[in-house]
């Protein structure tokens, strides 16, 4: 009831009161306005505070981010901006006439020539083959000229593990090798891993079951440690890393390589 009274006082009767006396009514409206302002500002404060907080947080994140950016990218650039004492390089005519200079440059030229000659002796004048195991390609050279290139297959990088703890990694060794032996119509003496890989029992070392013909193509060139350059029956795999470490070539390439390289020829594998 009292509430209703107050509400009524604030509306219709208020007009009557206004007519009767303006002063008290004005005071009341100011009071009411103030209270509503306070209420609004009270309602707004948390929103503003939140907005303010978010703004500060964003600013801090931005500052932190630019700081990290400066440390990671700015400082390395600054390091490279440090003043250099790069003296001008010039061709001083006076210097060139100096007998000491002539002597020094003569000695240096001789040194360079001597070293250059020495370095050139490493490059083989004989025929050699280069095998790129990453790309599975070969390059055959004769008299330092590339005479043939093509696809080959090299080690698969497969690691075969047995339950007993034995393991083999099928990779083509890298470095410099020499052709140790050349064979036509080679037969393959199967090592233990080739049986283990298939899950078949391992025959004794001298068992005829170990010998397999026709799988190495028409020719084979031994590189040592049972690694060879030979042919293949899996021609669709050429250009891919699928072998157990040997280098496989197709029939035509194999014939050219076999006829070009001699025993002692270099094989560079990388």
């Amino acid at each position: 009831m009292e509430d209703e009274k107050i509400r009524n006082e604030g509306t219709q009767p208020g007009i009557e009161k206004n007519a009767e006396g303006a002063q008290p009514a004005n005071n009341e409206s100011v009071l009411r306005q103030e209270t509503t302002h306070e209420e609004v500002s009270k309602n707004r404060k948390p929103v503003l505070r939140l907005f303010h907080g978010v703004l500060i947080f964003i600013c801090l994140i931005l500052v932190l981010f630019s700081l990290i950016l400066f440390l990671l990218y700015g400082v390395p650039v600054l390091k490279e901006l440090t003043p250099q004492q790069n003296k001008e390089i010039a061709d001083n005519k006076e210097l060139k006439k100096d007998p000491d200079f002539k002597k020094k440059i003569g000695l240096l030229t001789k040194d360079v020539q001597r070293l250059s000659l020495k370095f050139n002796t490493y490059a083989s004048g004989q025929s050699y083959i280069v095998v790129n195991t990453t790309e599975n390609r070969f390059y055959l050279y004769k008299n330092k000229q590339l005479i043939r290139e093509g696809s080959c297959s090299t080690g698969s990088y497969k690691k075969l593990l047995t339950a007993g703890g034995k393991n083999w990694t099928f990779k083509t060794p890298r470095g410099k090798f020499t052709i140790q032996n050349k064979r036509t119509h080679p037969a393959w003496h199967r090592p233990d891993w080739s049986f283990i890989e298939e899950g078949s029992p391992i025959p004794p070392k001298d068992s005829p079951l170990r010998w397999e013909t026709g799988v190495l193509g028409d020719y084979a060139m031994d590189l040592g440690d049972s690694y060879m350059i030979h042919g293949t029956i899996y021609k669709r795999f050429l250009g891919m890393p699928v072998t157990h470490g040997c280098v496989r070539l197709n029939d035509e390439d194999l014939e050219v390589v076999f006829n070009t390289l001699n025993i002692g020829s270099k094989v560079y594998i990388f």
């Binding site: 400082v75 390091k79 490279e80 010039a90 440059i105 990088y157 298939e198 899950g199």
Partner: protein, 266 residues
């Protein structure tokens, strides 16, 4: 009540300002220390590699300004370095910055040549008249550590079948996979070789390269910050950043041994 709030506010302000000042001071200090590091590195190189000469007024000082003499000196340094490699290391990398090539050599024979498409070299290494740098490069750089996005040896594990029934013939390897190739080779003399793939059009490649580069930068900055925090000048590593086609970058990374050697001609 009001004074308490004001006090709290001013205390907060003071803390904030102090924090900002401390951080700013540290950043300035860190930047200055970092800027000092190249000079310190150059000094170290000079002490270690420069040949000491007693008469400073004679021709030795002037001769190092002569382009013909310097050209010969550089050539000599590169030849010396490659001869050492040819006689001691099986597979090595030689970077010729003058003709923009990266070559793989085996006992003195260049077996692979790759064209560098872009390169960036630190100022220290580009000091053309610095005999100490030439002396340093006259012997090969040895790789001490490598960080890469690809494996050195892509080994796949296969368990041996128990019997023939379990045996599965090899399936054809997927050669269409093109993983991003980026790597950093840290060397014993502090020089770092950054090799990044040239192809950078795909978003995956860009992201991978950015992540790789960022990780390395974080690692590097962290160690520098630790040094600066102990009032030491951070280590400076002269660098050679090169971009190669993806396949070439991969060939080089796989070919060069873990602790392989590098000859640089600039």
């Amino acid at each position: 009540m009001e004074t308490e709030v004001t006090n709290r506010k001013s205390r907060r302000k003071i803390t904030f300002i102090t924090l900002i000042s401390v951080i700013s001071a540290f950043i300035i200090y860190y930047s200055l220390m970092s800027m000092k590091s190249p000079a310190q590195k150059l000094e170290e190189i000079k002490n270690e590699f420069e040949t000491k000469t007693t008469d400073k007024s004679n021709i030795n000082q002037r001769i190092l300004k002569d382009s013909a003499y310097l050209k010969l000196l550089k050539e000599k340094a590169f030849l010396q370095s490659r001869i050492v490699l040819a006689e001691t290391d099986s597979i090595y990398l030689s970077i010729n910055l003058a003709d923009s090539t990266a070559n793989i050599g085996i006992y003195g024979v260049v077996v692979h040549r790759a064209k560098i498409s872009k390169m960036q070299i630190s100022n220290i290494l580009m000091r053309r008249n610095e005999s100490a740098i030439l002396s340093m490069l006259a012997t090969p750089l040895t790789i001490s550590q490598a960080f890469a996005t690809i494996k050195k040896e892509p080994v796949m594990i296969q368990m041996a079948p128990k019997d023939t029934s379990e045996y599965k013939p090899d399936i054809m390897p997927d050669t269409t996979i093109t993983e991003p190739v980026n790597y950093i080779l840290e060397t014993d003399k502090g020089v770092r070789i950054y090799i990044y793939q040239e192809e950078n059009t795909k978003i995956d490649d860009k992201i991978s390269q950015f992540k790789f580069d960022l990780n390395y930068r974080i690692k590097d900055t962290w160690s520098a910050l630790k040094r600066v925090a102990t009032f030491k000048i951070p280590e400076y590593h002269p660098f050679i950043k090169i971009r190669l086609p993806r396949t070439e970058a991969k060939i080089i990374y796989r070919a060069v041994p873990k602790n392989g050697q590098i000859a640089v001609f600039r």
